[in-house]
């Protein structure tokens, strides 16, 4: 049984639709990556999936008792709120110290437990968010541009960490990323999103798809199209690059 199903989901403010007729399913244990240009609704889709946004049309079904570990794109902690890493890891559910230390180690950031969250570097902060997300032994780990603000070696190391985490706790992973070359190799399945699902499949299938090539400007496209899909729309070429 799928962990989570989105069926024909549409979401938007007024007339402007951010998501239109998006359907996707995540099976246990798979790593799925969502790619797409700026403003293509990637973060919105994730927030619909966790229930933070209610879609105007369509439906999201979570498997009963599904445990989600969510790593947001960024987390702003108000400077008036003092909180140590250890305290942060205990939200919302209290965990014992051994578990907390182990999660920090798994996330590759041991020894920061007694620091204030505000003292952490960007990379440490993201890893603490990851540690908190895996503490609940999630069935599904969701990461929204989790490597934002990390340099290239840093983000490569972060993705190796994600694979290690999946090996360790056997969760499925759904992530948003713009680091195509890194992500592609680590994913079982890639979904190319631009308000709707443009194309979907294994990394080599998607990277060969014309829609993907148009979006990311990696060549003329078409020549290696192994994967047929509806292509009834024009993409704005100013969006080039994966620069988000």
């Amino acid at each position: 049984m799928n962990l989570i199903d989105a069926h024909n989901v549409s979401f938007g403010h007024g007339r402007q639709k951010v998501l239109q007729g998006v359907s996707l399913s995540i099976s246990p244990g798979e790593i799925v990556t969502i790619v797409g240009p700026n403003g293509s609704g990637k973060s919105t889709l994730l927030r619909v999936l966790i229930g933070a946004l209610t879609p105007q049309m369509g439906k999201v079904t979570q498997r009963g008792g599904l445990r989600i570990g969510y790593v947001p794109q960024k987390l702003h902690i108000d400077p008036t709120l003092p909180i140590t890493v250890r305290r942060f890891l205990n939200l919302p559910l209290a965990v014992d110290q051994t578990q907390a230390d182990e999660a920090l180690r798994t996330a590759g950031v041991s020894g920061v437990a007694d620091k204030q969250m505000s003292q952490l570097s960007g990379g440490q902060f993201q890893r603490v968010l990851l540690a908190r997300a895996i503490l609940g032994k999630p069935d599904l780990l969701m990461l929204d541009e989790a490597t934002q603000g990390l340099d290239q070696p840093g983000s490569a190391a972060f993705y190796r960490q994600i694979e290690a985490v999946r090996r360790d706790i056997g969760c499925a992973v759904l992530m948003i990323s713009h680091e195509l070359h890194v992500v592609m190799s680590a994913s079982d399945r890639v979904i190319c999103l631009n308000g709707h699902v443009c194309c979907e499949g294994t990394p080599d299938v998607v990277s060969a798809a014309p829609a993907y090539r148009e979006l990311f400007g990696s060549g003329t496209g078409g020549a290696l199209a192994l994967y047929r899909h509806d292509h009834d729309h024009a993409h704005d070429h100013d969006h080039h690059e994966a620069a988000e």
Binding site: A52, I68, T80, P82
Partner: protein
């Protein structure tokens, strides 16, 4: 012991300050200061309505503060910026209350008592209301602490954990109305927000965890209440404003000493 009006005043002040100090942490963390103002200012309208219908002041204030709080809660869910709307509601309600109070036939009331508090005249009944309301606030926050804190840090993290952060927001809103109803007798409608914010802000300097900040804030609130009452008696001034002065002084000292410590480090 309760026959002494000073003892009653001290107990009323401490009870209010402890509840306000705890709730005030969330007001500071969530940047709800204006929200607190709007709810507190509406209390004057509550006073007018209570006098008009001959009900108890606490009931009138409680009902109006609750109505205002729920109204704002609804508006804040719309996603748009509510800053201006809060300003309109806060001062509109205050002005309407001030006008309404003077229009009540056959009554000359001491408006100052509701704007700045009149803690020296608290009765045993008032004390019961204050400590009952204060206990409700502390108990509710204690019971919902983890959910409140998660929702405050990040609504999305709360949603992902299967919680509803809107519910946390609603509970805080209701508790805010309770604190307003309880505090109007002690510091008055105009200074309630100060009692919420200043002890929490002073506590921030010394705290490493949210829990420690909450305890410190309650302590600083209680200390301000007792010291403020004492100073007001010595210098023969109004009690409510003096309590706030002491809290502000503690905030000043804590901020300056913290900056000096940072300079030295």
């Amino acid at each position: 012991m309760l026959d002494d009006f000073l003892v009653r005043a001290a107990l009323a002040g401490v009870g209010t300050a402890v509840a306000a100090g705890l709730l005030g942490c969330f007001v500071v963390w969530r940047r709800m200061a204006y929200f607190g103002d709007a709810t507190a200012h509406a209390a004057v309208l509550g006073v007018a309505l209570a006098l008009l219908f001959g009900t108890s002041i606490t009931l009138g204030v409680g009902v109006v503060a609750l109505t205002m709080a729920i109204l704002i809660h609804g508006l804040s869910g719309q996603g748009a910026s509510v800053d201006t709307m809060l300003g309109v509601l806060a001062h509109g309600a205050l002005a309407l209350g001030l006008v309404a109070v003077t229009l009540i036939p056959g009554q000359r009331i001491d408006l100052d008592a509701y704007l700045f508090g009149d803690v020296l005249s608290v009765t045993r009944m008032d004390l019961a209301v204050i400590w009952g309301g204060g206990a409700l606030v502390v108990a509710a926050l204690w019971w919902q602490w983890s959910a409140m804190l998660t929702a405050t840090l990040s609504p999305d993290l709360a949603y992902a954990a299967g919680m509803n952060p809107r519910r946390a927001q609603l509970i805080l809103t209701l508790l805010l109305a309770a604190v307003v109803a309880v505090a109007i007798k002690v510091v008055g409608a105009l200074l309630i927000t100060a009692l919420l914010i200043i002890p929490a802000a002073a506590a921030r300097t010394f705290a490493h965890t949210p829990e420690r900040m909450a305890f410190l804030s309650m302590g600083i609130g209680a200390l301000s209440a007792i010291a403020g009452l004492r100073l007001a008696v010595i210098f023969d001034t109004a009690v409510g404003p003096m309590i706030i002065c002491v809290a502000a002084a503690i905030f000043g000292v804590s901020t300056i000493s913290n900056n000096l410590r940072k300079l030295r480090a």
